[in-house]
C-alpha cells in the first residue's frame, strides 16, 4: 500500500490513546505489526512532562507517526494544530479532524474541506477524517488530498460499518484513491468486512486499547485485516437470494 508516496506493509494504523499503561501500548503496537501510529498534541502538564516521556516511547517503537487534529471544531483551530504538529513530529502528514457535533463526533465536512485546501497548499499531506459522502470526497481530492478516510461509525462506538452500501459506493467511485476506514470499528470481523469491500486499510484505537488484553486484540486485528485483504484480492463469490446446491445433482441414486 502506498500513502503519499510511502510504501507501507501493514494495513492497520493504530491509535495510541486509552491504553492501561505505556508498556501495554508498546506491546500492542508490536503485536499489531502497525507501521503507522496516530498521536496528538496537548498542553504539556506542569512539572510532570508526560508528553516528553510519551514521545520518547513512540520514537523507540520505530514506527511512523500520523499526528491528528482531534478535538478541533473549526478549520482555523485544525490548521494551527497541524502547523504545531508538523514542527514537533517533523512530518508533513496530518490526520485532519474538524469535528462538527459533540455527540456523534462526526466531521464538519465544510470546515474539513476548507482546512484541507489550506493545509495542502502549505505542503501538508492530508489524511482527512470524513464521511462516506461521495461529493465531499471529490471536494477533498480537489483540495489536494490523496487519501480519504471515511468513518465506519462514530468514534469510539465500536459499531462497525454503519453504511455498508455507502462505503461500497465510495470504493467504486474512487477506485484509485487509497481509502482507509477510520473510526467506529469494534471487532476484527468488522475490520475484515471493510477490507473485503476493498478498503485499503483500517485505522482504529479504542477497540484495541479498551480490550481486556490489548496486545492480543491488536494481533487479532492484524490477522483479520490481512484475511480481509486476501479475500478481496481472491474475488468473493456473488451473493444470491436463493440456495444453490454445492454437491452435484447429477448422478443422484434412485432410492
Amino acid at each position: 500500500m502506498e500513502l503519499y508516496g510511502v510504501t507501507v506493509g501493514s494495513r492497520l494504523l493504530l491509535g495510541t490513546a486509552q491504553y492501561p499503561s505505556p508498556a501495554i501500548l508498546a506491546d500492542a503496537v508490536r503485536q499489531s505489526g502497525a507501521e503507522i501510529v496516530t498521536v496528538s498534541l496537548r498542553r504539556e502538564s506542569g512539572n510532570e512532562r508526560n508528553g516528553q516521556g510519551f514521545w520518547s516511547l513512540v520514537r523507540d517503537l520505530g514506527v511512523r507517526v500520523l499526528p491528528n487534529t482531534a478535538g478541533c471544531h473549526t478549520a482555523r483551530e485544525a490548521i494551527t494544530t497541524a502547523q504545531m504538529a508538523r514542527e514537533v513530529f517533523e512530518t508533513n502528514w496530518i490526520k485532519l479532524e474538524v469535528i462538527g457535533n459533540h455527540d456523534t463526533l462526526q466531521p464538519d465536512v465544510f470546515g474539513l474541506v476548507e482546512a484541507a485546501r489550506s493545509l495542502s497548499a502549505d505542503g501538508f499531506e492530508v489524511f482527512p477524517y470524513t464521511t462516506e459522502d461521495l461529493v465531499v470526497g471529490e471536494r477533498l481530492l480537489d483540495a489536494g488530498c490523496r487519501v480519504l478516510m471515511p468513518w465506519g461509525a462514530p468514534i469510539g462506538s465500536g459499531r462497525g460499518l454503519n453504511n455498508v452500501y455507502g462505503l461500497r459506493m465510495m470504493r467504486a467511485h474512487f477506485p484509485d484513491v487509497p481509502l482507509v476506514v477510520d473510526a467506529g470499528i469494534g471487532l476484527p470481523s468488522q475490520a475484515a468486512q471493510a477490507m473485503e469491500l476493498g478498503y485499503d486499510a483500517i485505522l482504529l484505537n479504542t477497540a484495541v486499547a479498551r480490550a481486556g488484553k490489548p496486545a492480543q486484540m491488536a494481533h487479532a486485528f492484524a490477522q483479520a485485516i490481512a484475511a480481509g485483504r486476501e479475500a478481496y484480492i481472491a474475488e468473493p463469490m456473488p451473493m444470491r437470494d436463493m440456495a444453490s446446491p454445492s454437491t452435484p445433482v447429477l448422478g443422484m441414486a434412485m432410492l
Binding site: 498521536v39 498534541l41 498542553r43 512532562r49 513512540v58 491528528n68 482555523r76 514537533v88
Partner: protein, 65 residues
C-alpha cells in the same frame, strides 16, 4: 509581566518568547508554541516580544487516536 501559559497565569521577565521558555523550564522540551492563537515556529521564538496579558499555548506530544 503577567501572561497566561496554558490558561495559567505566570509572572515572567521576558522579553522574548525564547527567554520565557527558558524561564519556564522548557529549554530542551519537545514542544510547539502558539501565541494568542497563532503558531510561532521555534526559529522565530527569539524574535517574538511578549506583552502583558499574552496567551501562550505550549503543546507536547500526547497519545491520540
Amino acid at each position: 509581566m503577567k501572561i497566561l501559559v496554558n490558561s495559567e497565569e505566570r509572572d515572567i521577565a521576558g522579553p522574548t518568547l525564547a527567554t520565557a521558555l527558558d524561564e519556564l523550564g522548557y529549554t530542551c522540551a519537545v514542544i510547539a508554541t502558539a501565541l494568542n492563537g497563532r503558531f510561532v515556529p521555534a526559529r522565530r521564538r527569539a524574535e517574538v516580544i511578549l506583552r502583558d496579558g499574552d496567551q501562550l499555548e505550549l503543546l507536547a506530544p500526547m497519545q491520540g487516536g
